[in-house]
């Protein structure tokens, strides 16, 4: 085991060397490399700097001047006081719990619903399959923003306004996800399922035992983007939720900003609470995030 790992590592090191030496086998001249890193660092400062500035602001105590000039990039006496104060002013942990519930429910329904529908569209023959696919494509083309008022009225009739169920329901099986799963299932070779059919497997068994394990990657992409979409969503929860006890984090932050706009430390602490879980998730599962961009944009 360990011997193999070492071998792997050596091979990887070699391939990195190869990549690095590309372009005619020569190392790029040193000044070019320095320039490249300089550019990378400048872009890094632009893209990540604002997050770090927010983090720094959230850690500055009440005694420290956050408007000092020149600005102090690091807090002189870092403190978590602001996080405690946010929790006193608004039930920020309840909001986080609500966001988590909404996001997990959205993952579950999207994964199950999109896999089922995608499998039927890709692998089962029936009259009206083309039409069914068209329905999902049409649903994908309708901008959510243009139907929110009607969705709001539908929720009102169902008595689901101001509930977390109402937040989850309209997006709980995304048309794009159904079509992504359909593409993934279409790429599995037929012969495997035919063999299973000959062995007496019914549609459900072929779905769960053969097709699903073969599309794990796409399922992960759907799950991650469902989580991120629900956690980050703003417009729809803003319209559906009116009672503070049901707020999700994004709506709670908006409320915090509207009510305590003059206290930047608290707003900063709130935003860090909202963004930290997603950054951790992203750090752990990067390649699925990147894969999702490719599949969602190009095939969708």
């Amino acid at each position: 085991m360990s011997a193999q790992t070492l071998g792997d590592r050596a091979r990887r090191r070699k391939s990195i060397g190869d990549k690095f030496l590309a372009e005619g086998g020569r190392r790029p001249p040193a000044w070019k490399l320095v320039l490249r890193y300089l550019l990378l660092l400048i872009v890094f400062a632009i893209m990540v700097g604002p997050f770090l500035w927010q983090l720094s602001t959230s850690l500055k105590g009440a005694g420290e001047d956050i408007y000092s000039y020149p600005p102090k990039l690091l807090p002189s006496e870092p403190t978590f006081d602001n996080y405690g104060k946010v929790a006193e002013l608004i039930p920020v942990w309840d909001f986080a719990l609500n966001s988590l519930k909404v996001a997990l429910a959205n993952v579950l329904t999207n994964v199950v619903g999109a896999a089922l529908a995608g499998y039927a569209l890709a692998r089962l023959t029936f009259r009206g399959r083309g039409l069914a696919t068209v329905a999902f494509v049409m649903a994908m083309l309708v901008p959510v923003e243009s139907i929110i008022i009607a969705q709001f009225m539908t929720m009102r009739e169902l008595g689901l306004n101001n509930t977390l169920t109402g937040v989850v329901l309209p997006g709980c099986i995304g048309a794009l996800n159904v079509l992504l799963m359909r593409n993934a299932f279409s790429n599995i070779p037929y012969e495997i399922e035919e063999a299973a059919f000959v062995d007496g497997a019914n549609a459900w068994q072929r779905f769960t035992r053969i097709a699903l394990p073969a599309v794990k990657g796409t399922l992960a992409v759907v799950a991650i983007f469902a989580f991120m979409g629900a956690w980050d969503d703003f417009l729809w929860p803003l319209i559906v939720l009116s009672d503070q006890s049901n707020f999700t984090l994004t709506i709670g932050l908006n409320y915090l900003h509207g009510t305590f706009a003059n206290n930047q430390r608290l707003v900063a602490a709130g935003t860090i609470i909202a963004v930290a879980p997603l950054i951790v998730l992203f750090a752990c599962l990067q390649r699925f995030f990147f894969r999702g961009v490719g599949e969602g944009a190009v095939k969708g």
Binding site: F20, L39, L40, V43, F44, M47, P50, Q54, Y67, Y69, P70, V112, G113, L116, A117, R123, T125, A132, A135, F136, M138, L141, V142, P143, E145, S146, I148, I149, A150, Q151, M153, T154, I173, A175, V178, S186, Y190, E191, I192, A203, W204, P213, M228, W231, D232, D233, L235, I239, H257, V267, T271, A274, V275, L278, I279, F282, A283, Q286, V293, V298
Partner: protein, 331 residues
């Protein structure tokens, strides 16, 4: 941890191409998009099975997307309010739109948003992708870092920039150091809109960078080498090799970013406030839909008419960009 799952996933995917050639006896049928091969009518499942698989998806899509869409169109011809069922008023809502100053302001802002956001989002991510495409040690760290704003919620991003662009915030401190006096990013009507555009561009860069990276990976290296041998400099090669090779991706990015720009809501709502800045001059169309259509006295019929306009223009934008792509492709 994440490495293990790659290895679990990979063999499954690889069985695909591997099994196909191992059965030379089976007649080759070419690519079969879906469904068992042509004439062989073997029942592999009950007639009702597909519909059971589709039931959850159909109920959600039908009940919460397609039905609301049709009801939006139909209620745009009524004077429905949140608590009052409407009656048919014909095109009155659309006539009122025509004479509604607020609607024209919102339409102007949403269209301006496309003009301000799309060119930078087509060009900057391409340059960024070229910067991170080549391998240098630590490059994957930079790629991930540049993607961070995409992962964050638009609310988080908006509030971060509200603080950055504050009269006494970091940006104004830096500007002050070079002698430019505090800029009122968040109180001037036009600066507000421009600031919101900046935030949209900043948040979108990483997303489109990833799309461009996939396209750049497909540009054959030989093209660059041949051009370099012929004496083309880096800038010349960018315009003669890279840009033509990623042109269709640029069109895709233009289509995606213009549709998203036109539907802008959150950035402007957070930075300019729920009422759309001074005198509502920064209201966008989606903000107007929310203002008009929600609340106890919400004018659902009128908001639906605005929604229909948003839908039609969004669809028009997509068709326009795709058509431009086709025409250029023919030429």
């Amino acid at each position: 941890m994440s490495d293990t799952s790659t290895r679990n996933g990979a063999p499954v995917a690889k069985t695909g191409p591997a099994t196909a050639p191992s059965q030379p006896a089976a007649p080759v049928k070419g690519p079969r998009p879906a469904g068992p091969p042509g004439r062989r009518r073997i029942r592999t499942h009950l007639p009702s099975t597909p519909w059971l698989f589709l039931l959850p998806g159909f109920s959600i899509i039908g009940g919460f997307v397609l039905f609301p869409f049709f009801s939006t169109v139909s209620s745009s011809f009524t004077d429905q309010r949140t608590l009052i069922a409407g009656k048919w008023v014909g095109g009155a809502n659309y006539q009122e739109l025509w004479h509604d100053d607020m609607f024209w302001i919102a339409l102007r802002n949403s269209l301006l948003y496309i003009v301000g956001v799309v060119p930078p989002l087509v060009i900057l991510p391409l340059l960024l992708a070229m910067l991170v495409q080549r391998y240098v040690p630590g490059i994957s760290f930079f790629r991930s870092a540049f993607y961070t704003p995409v992962v964050a919620s638009v609310v988080v991003v908006g509030l971060i920039w509200v603080w950055m662009l504050d009269d006494r915030g970091l940006v104004n401190a830096v500007l002050g150091a070079i002698g430019v006096g505090p800029v009122a990013f968040l109180s001037d009507q036009w600066l507000l809109l421009i600031s919101a555009m900046l935030v949209t561009v900043w948040k979108g860069l990483g997303y489109y960078m990833i799309i461009y990276m996939a396209a750049l990976g497909n540009v054959p290296k030989e093209l660059h080498e041949a051009a370099a041998v012929d004496g083309a400099g880096a800038i010349r090669r960018f315009f003669t090799v890279t840009v033509p090779a990623v042109r269709s991706t640029m069109v895709l990015v233009a289509a995606l970013s213009s549709v998203n720009a036109f539907k802008v809501f959150s950035e402007v709502y957070l930075m300019a406030g729920p009422n759309g800045g001074p005198g509502g001059e920064d209201t966008t169309l989606v903000m107007l839909i929310k203002q008009v259509g929600t609340g106890l006295s919400g004018r659902v019929g009128y908001a639906s008419a605005i929604s229909v306009v948003v839908f039609v223009i969004t669809l028009g934008l997509m068709l326009l960009v795709l058509k431009a792509d086709k025409k250029e492709g023919d030429a």
